[in-house]
Structures are given as C-alpha cells and as structure tokens.
C-alpha cells in the first residue's frame, strides 16, 4: 500500500504524564484521513510533533513518502518535508491584501531585491484557478467573508506543498487541517471540502482534525480515533455510524439517552431568568435558574456556549434579550459591566491575567477592588483595608496570604482564589464563571469547586461555562449542551457524568444554520 505518512510508536511525555502512548497510524496516498477525540486525547500533541513544535520521546518513527524523517522534526522545515498546516486561527493578516497574504512566506524569505507584484499576482491567480477559487488578489483579507478566508489559507497551504516533490518527481505531501471549519456555516463548508477533494486529486493527502463527527464522516475516507493518548481504532468512514464513533471516543457504550428534558423553552420560573439572548454566535437562547443552583453550559468548540457569561454581563455586546434577577428585568443590549454589577452579577473570566486581575498590582488592590467603596472612598483607612484584604486571603486559602505581593507572583490556582475572593466578597446574586479551573493545579481545583458549591449553598445562582466535562460533572446541578449557538439538550441528575456530557456534546454537534452570518473569531 502506498502511504504518504506513517507514524510508528510515537510517545510523548509531559512531566510524567503520557500525552501520547505508542501511537501508530498511517495515511494513504490520496486519502482524506480524519483524526477525532476528546479534548486532551492527544490530537494536538500529535500535530505539534509533526509541526516540530514538540520533541517526542525517543523510539517513535515518522516516515513521509517512504523517507524516514529524523525526529524531532526541524521547525520551519515542514514544507520541505512535504507537510503543510492550516490551523483554526488560519494565520492570515487581515489588514493585508490577498496576494500579500498568499505569498507572504515566499516573499519574506526569498532574497530578492525587488518584488514584482504583477508576477506574484499572476502566480496567485493561477493557484486559485487550479483549486477553483475566485478571489480578487487585490482585496483586503479583512473584507472577505469567513469562508473565503479559510479557503485562502487552505489554498496557500496547498501551494506551499506544490513546490514539494517526492523522490520519483510525482506530487505528494500531507495537508493538515486543524479544525479550520469550526466557525463556518454549513453551506460554506461544502465549498471548502470541494477544495480539499481537488487537492487530493492532485496527489496530496489530507489529515483532517475535527470535533464535528458528521462532517468528519462526510469528508474523510478513514478516521482514526484517539483516546487518552492511544489509538482507539481506525475505521472506514463509509461503513461507520456516528454513535459508533462516539462510543470509541468515550471508550464505552452508554445506555440510550432519554431526551426527556427538552430545554426549558420559555424562561418563566426561577430566581434568574434569561430570555432570548442573541449576540455573537448565540441565537435566541433562554434558560432559568434557581437560587443555589449551579448550571453548567457546555458544547464543542464553536458551539457558542462560552459566550453566554460575557453576553449576560455586558462584556460582549448582545444584540438582544433580557435577563431577570429577583424580579428586576434588564435589557441585555444596553447591559454594561457596571450595570451588571449593580444588577447583582459577577463575572469570572477565563483570561485570568488579562481580564480578571492586574498582574503588576498587589494582591490587596486586586482582591479589594469590588468592595473599596465600603472603606470611606475619600479617606481609605489603610490599616483596616489591609486587614480586610488579609482576612479575605485567609478565608479563601490563598497561599501565601500576603496582601502586598504582586498578583502575578501567585500560582494560577491562587490567582483564581483571589479572583473568587474579590467577587464573592461583594456578595453577588448571580456568579458567572468561564473555565474556572483552567491552568489551576489539582489541589486548588478542588478548592475552587468547593468555593463555588459553597457559594451556591448560600443561595447564589451559578452559571459555569466550561469544556471540562469532569468539572461540570463535579459541580453542576444541571448541564445545558450547546451546538450552533443553541441549547440542544439538558442533562440532570444521574445523566451528569463526564461520559454522558461528552456523548451529548458529540451527538448534538450540529452545524450552524446556512443562512447565519457569523463573526470571525480573531
């Protein structure tokens, strides 16, 4: 069998943790090969090894077009070796033109005195024609619709490959597509797959990484499933059903899911009701939550669940919708963070250093910011202020409990405790959190869970947006699974397990409505 890429016994260890465990797989010549699996299954590790970003453990082997490749892959040599990558962010510079983006790599590395733009344009147009892409080389990338940008990135990657030839002078190489379709509407994806198929016809192979199983089944020839760093199996796409794939991803068969609890269609009861939020990729989402309830929001990448906390808090502009807290109604289109705080909300964003706390200021200033007005704003009693800060640090077990330290000097877990202390001191009615334990060590993670559940036990309503299914299972009373900006199903009671959440995320992953215009995630 003619193979483009063969991986044998590839392992990768991070600080004692095996991210990849003797992974072997092969991609045939002219094949579109899918790679799927949960977050943390080793997909991105494998791709980063191919890109030369990670140094794998000794013992692994990599072969491209029959040639053994020395590991680790030398960074920057990818296109020489016959590898080309398109990542989720596409790697385009929006303020430049199509031709500037298309030829950026070649132009900036060739040692030529003069750039002949007419020739570059011609070359670009020729490449576009080969893949059936109609784009004005002079257009600015920022003005292109999302799908055109994705296509541009893919054709650019294919063009890089076209300079690579195998030993026998025939075309080859591997194009790695690392979820470039996440933010595209479905109709547009078909055009993208068209380009992918053409590239295969030109002799290249494609490794297609996706969370969207429908899409993977539709576009690939075979699919390899990774689970916990190992190959769970390779299947032929045409002979495989989606639920079989989900089973391979989770590692066991779950009892059939009774979709009895369809999402509360109208938010009518409860302490907090959210009514028809729109904005970003969220379309008409409503839900309610009770006092003391911890509500999880989840879904796959691109499902939009993580935008909800920011839309409710006014941190991202909402196009419409209402939120009601203890009988007071607020229009989300007019919501601002300061208004949200007055309404009784608190937001703990995922970006701890960029949005939650200021690294170069002291822990005291960070932890006291929300309650500073309780300390006579025109004559801060510094001793009392410092004492209160120290008490808060002790209460939330921040280590070291030293208020004068810089916030940035704390570990991730302790920073998160400071941020929790900052907001919980102000006693909000609704606590919105996004990925609260990202970059937090195991011990602190448990404390964050306790703090959140404790806050709920005292009557706070908590909304936790997270793609960490284990965490959701640990703290949530109810979990809403999102896809395409909508709630697809609600999990309660015994169904809130890591495996069930994973299953439902994959099963409900539906692509966006074709007519929907999506903002491009930067």
């Amino acid at each position: 069998m003619d193979h483009t890429v063969v991986v044998r016994d590839m392992s990768m260890t991070f600080g004692g943790q095996r991210a990849l465990d003797r992974v072997s797989m092969s991609i045939r010549r002219g094949e579109v090969h899918g790679l799927v699996g949960q977050n943390g299954c080793g997909k991105s590790t494998l791709i980063k090894i191919l890109a030369g970003y990670h140094h794998p453990d000794p013992g692994g082997e990599l072969e491209i077009d029959g040639r053994p490749i020395k590991l680790p892959v030398r960074t920057g040599s990818a296109s020489e070796l016959g590898l080309s990558f398109v990542h989720q962010d596409l790697g385009l510079l929006p303020s430049l033109t199509v031709v500037e983006n298309f030829r950026a790599w070649t132009i900036s590395t060739k040692s030529e005195w003069l750039i002949r733009w007419s020739r570059e344009r011609e070359r670009t147009e020729k490449a576009f024609a080969r893949f059936g892409l109609h784009l004005d080389p002079r257009a600015k990338v920022a003005d292109l619709p999302a799908v055109q940008r994705a296509l541009l990135a893919i054709v650019r990657a294919l063009d890089d490959l076209s300079e690579y030839t195998k030993d026998d002078d025939s075309r080859g190489g591997l194009l790695v597509l690392d979820e470039p379709t996440v933010f595209l509407p479905r109709t547009d994806r078909d055009r993208l797959f068209e380009v992918v198929r053409r590239s295969v016809a030109h002799g290249a192979s494609v490794l297609f990484v996706s969370h969207d199983l429908d899409e993977a089944l539709a576009v690939t020839d075979r699919i390899t499933v990774l689970r916990d760093g190992r190959v769970a199996g390779t299947v032929v796409s045409a002979e495989t059903e989606k639920d079989q794939l989900v089973e391979m991803i989770i590692g066991k068969r779950l009892e059939a899911f009774e979709a009895a609890h369809k999402a509360h269609s109208v938010a009518d009861s409860g302490h907090v009701t959210v009514d028809r939020v729109r904005g970003g990729s969220i379309d008409d989402v409503s839900f309610a939550l009770d006092e003391g309830e911890v509500l999880g929001l989840t879904g796959l990448v691109g499902s939009g669940f993580e935008e909800i906390p920011y839309l409710l808090f006014g941190a991202e502009p909402a196009a419409g919708g209402r939120v009601t807290i203890s009988g007071h109604e607020y229009e989300l289109a007019q919501m601002t963070p300061s208004g949200a705080i007055k309404a009784g909300m608190a937001l703990i964003p995922a970006d701890r250093q960029g949005a939650a706390g200021v690294g170069s200021l002291s822990v005291r200033d960070n932890v006291m910011l929300q309650v500073i007005d309780d300390y006579r704003p025109y004559r801060l009693d510094r001793r009392r202020y410092l004492r209160a800060a120290r008490e808060a640090l002790h209460q939330y077990d921040v280590r070291p409990p030293e208020p004068t330290m810089d916030f940035q000097a704390l570990s991730g877990g302790n920073q998160q405790k400071v941020v929790l202390a900052k907001w919980l001191q102000a006693a909000p009615k609704v606590l919105l959190v996004h990925e609260p334990t990202q970059g937090v060590d195991v011990g602190a993670r448990l404390q964050v869970f306790q703090t959140v559940t404790q806050a709920a036990a005292e009557g706070m309503s908590v909304v936790c947006a997270s793609s960490d299914y284990e965490q959701l299972a640990a703290i949530c009373d109810r979990v809403l699974v999102f896809a395409g900006g909508e709630i697809m199903c609600t999990l309660v009671g015994d169904d809130i397990t890591k495996d069930r959440i994973t299953e439902q995320c994959y099963m409900s992953a539906r692509t966006l409505k074709p007519d929907k215009d999506l903002r491009m995630h930067a």
């Binding site: 963070p337 706390g357 801060l380 810089d406 306790q450």
Partner: protein
C-alpha cells in the same frame, strides 16, 4: 485527581499562615535601597558638586534659588502624572501651560481684566483643553499620543495668535508677589504650592478609591472594565485634571516673570516627562508617583545647576534631560522585567 475525598479547605491550610511576612524581611533592605536610590543619587550629586565648587554651589542662596525656581516644572510633571497613571500620554500639557500663561498676560496686561478673573479664565481654558482631548481620545477612540500631539500644536498656534507672537509684560504685581516675591524660610511661595499639590496627589492616589481605580485603568483596562469601572470616564477625567493643573503651572510661570512669552513654555515638555519617568523608579518603584516625581525634578535641577556653575555651556541641559529620560525608561523597564521574572519563579 481524587474526587472521593474532597476534604475541607481547612485541611489544606499551612500550619502557620503568618510565615511569609517574616520571610520577606530578608528582602526589605534591597527594597529600601531601590525606593531611595534616587534620593541617594541626588545626595551624591550634591556632595560631588559641593566638593568641586565649594563656594558657588554649596551655599544657602544657591539652594533657595534651586528650590524656589522649579515649581513650574514640578507642577507640570505632576499634571502629566495623572494621565500617565491612567495609561495615557498627554503631550499637550506644555502647550496648555504656555497658553494659560499667555491668557493671563493678555487679559490682565492688555485688556485690564482683574488678575483674579484672568486666572480663573486661564484655569477654565485648561479644563476645556482637557475636555477636548478626552473627547477625541475616548469618544472617537483615537490614540492619546496622536490626539495630544495635534491639540498641543493647535494650542501653540492659538497662543501665537492671541499674543501676536509678542512677549507680553506688565502683568499685575499681585501675581508676582504671591509667586516669587514672598518667601518662607528664604524660599519663594511657589515652592510650597508645588509641595501642596504633591501632597494632594499623593493623598488622592494612595488614600482614595478613585486613586485605586485610576491605577487599575492604567494597568489593566480590560480588568477595570470588567470590574465595573467606567474606564472612559476615568480617563476623560484624568485629561481634564491634567489640563487644569497644567494651566495652573502656566499661571505660576507668568507670575514668575511678570510677563509671558509665546514659546518658552514648550521647553518644559521633555523635562516633565523625564521627571515623571525618573520618578517612577523611586519611592514606589514601578509606579508613577508624586514624591518620586518631586524628587526627580530637584535631582535633575541640581545636576544642571551644578554643571552650569562649573562653567559647562547651556547645551548640556538638553543632553542631561534627554539622557535622564532614556536612563529612567531603561531603569523602569528593568524594574518591571525583574518583577515579572520574580513572579514566574
């Protein structure tokens, strides 16, 4: 992760939570040296010049002159400090100073407006300039550096227009008497105005909630916004405050000479920046602060006065101020990097 035994948070507490404070004592000396480095450097400069020029440099008269004549710069640097703390450059402050000084002179000396009213108009003009700066910067979201470069140039043009490019003298003696003539401990009143403003700003920055908020806006706009601080209003307010204080500096500048010329105020711009940045390496290292700025002004002036007494020509002023700005920036960058590195360890 072991989920079956969550345990109470108390279990994870260290036996003695008071320890870290004691550990920090070892670093305290280094901290103090860093805080007082500028003061020490100032004293060293004084000692050096006193040795080199014992008669001309090291005498009371020279010192009272040095202290008494730099208030315009002190106040302008303090004006600059406010937007800098909020994370914005305001390079129109020197033009505001020039303009306000000229407004006082034109109204009082040429049009016979009572000096009190003339001062009030000049201060109001400063507030208006700050308001306009803020309008373009906040409302249109334009970079503050560019906006204030533009408005500063406009203001200089207006200054030339209202003065017909002439130096205007004959300003009421009353102003001069309250600025330079009256003295306490042999030092002109104006020195104490600078001192008072310094105390005021120190109080605002360190002891009020608004001071904390300004700091948060400057260090982490997004954090401030998500913490409910109205970032735009805070920044706008800082520009207005800077305009008012810069205008006050202009009033004093006219009072110092009893006259106003339409261009020399601009020469204060670079020294003001140098003092603000140099000051940010002292007292509270890594943060723009009033006392550091205050000391920095006198450190710079001492150096320049000493060199002048030794007979070095006036071009050295430029070299000295420019050099101080670059050195101060490098020093504050080193401080910042070191703190970040310490944080990573």
């Amino acid at each position: 992760m072991n989920q079956s035994s969550p345990g109470a948070p108390g279990e994870l507490l260290p036996p003695s939570a008071g320890e870290p404070q004691r550990q920090r004592k070892g670093f305290a000396l280094g901290d103090y040296v860093e805080r007082l480095a500028l003061v020490i450097a100032w004293l060293v400069v004084i000692v050096v010049f006193s040795v080199l020029a014992p008669d001309t440099f090291f005498n009371v008269r020279n010192f009272t002159t040095m202290f008494g004549t730099q208030t315009t710069l002190v106040i302008l640097a303090l004006a600059l400090l406010i937007p800098l703390t909020a994370g914005d450059y305001d390079i129109s402050v020197a033009a505001t100073l020039t303009f306000s000084g000229m407004v006082v002179a034109v109204l009082n000396a040429q049009h016979g407006v009572p000096i009190g009213v003339a001062i009030a108009v000049a201060i109001a003009a400063g507030a208006l300039i700050g308001f306009i700066n803020g309008f373009f910067i906040i409302y249109f979201e334009i970079d503050a550096f560019i906006v204030t470069l533009g408005t500063g140039t406009i203001i200089l043009g207006l200054t030339l227009w209202i003065s017909a490019s002439q130096t205007i003298s004959g300003v009421s003696d009353w102003l001069s008497s309250w600025v330079v003539v009256h003295r306490i401990f042999g030092i002109s009143y104006e020195f104490y105005y600078g001192l008072l403003l310094c105390v005021l700003l120190w109080y605002v920055f360190d002891y009020t909630a608004i001071g904390r908020r300004i700091l948060f806006v400057g260090r982490g706009t997004n954090v401030a916004r998500l913490s409910g601080i109205r970032v735009g209003r805070v920044r706008w307010g800082c520009f207005i405050a800077a305009g008012v204080i810069a205008a006050a500096a202009g009033v004093l500048y006219t009072g110092t000479a009893g006259a106003s010329d339409p261009t020399s105020g601009q020469t204060f711009l670079l020294p003001a920046f140098a003092a603000a940045f140099l000051g940010s390496t002292a007292i509270t290292p890594g943060r723009f602060n009033p006392w550091g700025t205050f000391i920095a002004v006198y450190f710079l002036v001492t150096g320049i006065t000493g060199l002048a007494i030794l007979g070095v020509q006036t071009w050295v002023q430029n070299v000295f101020y420019g050099g101080a700005l670059v050195v101060a920036l490098s020093a504050s960058q080193i401080v910042k990097k070191r703190r970040e590195r310490a944080a990573r360890l």
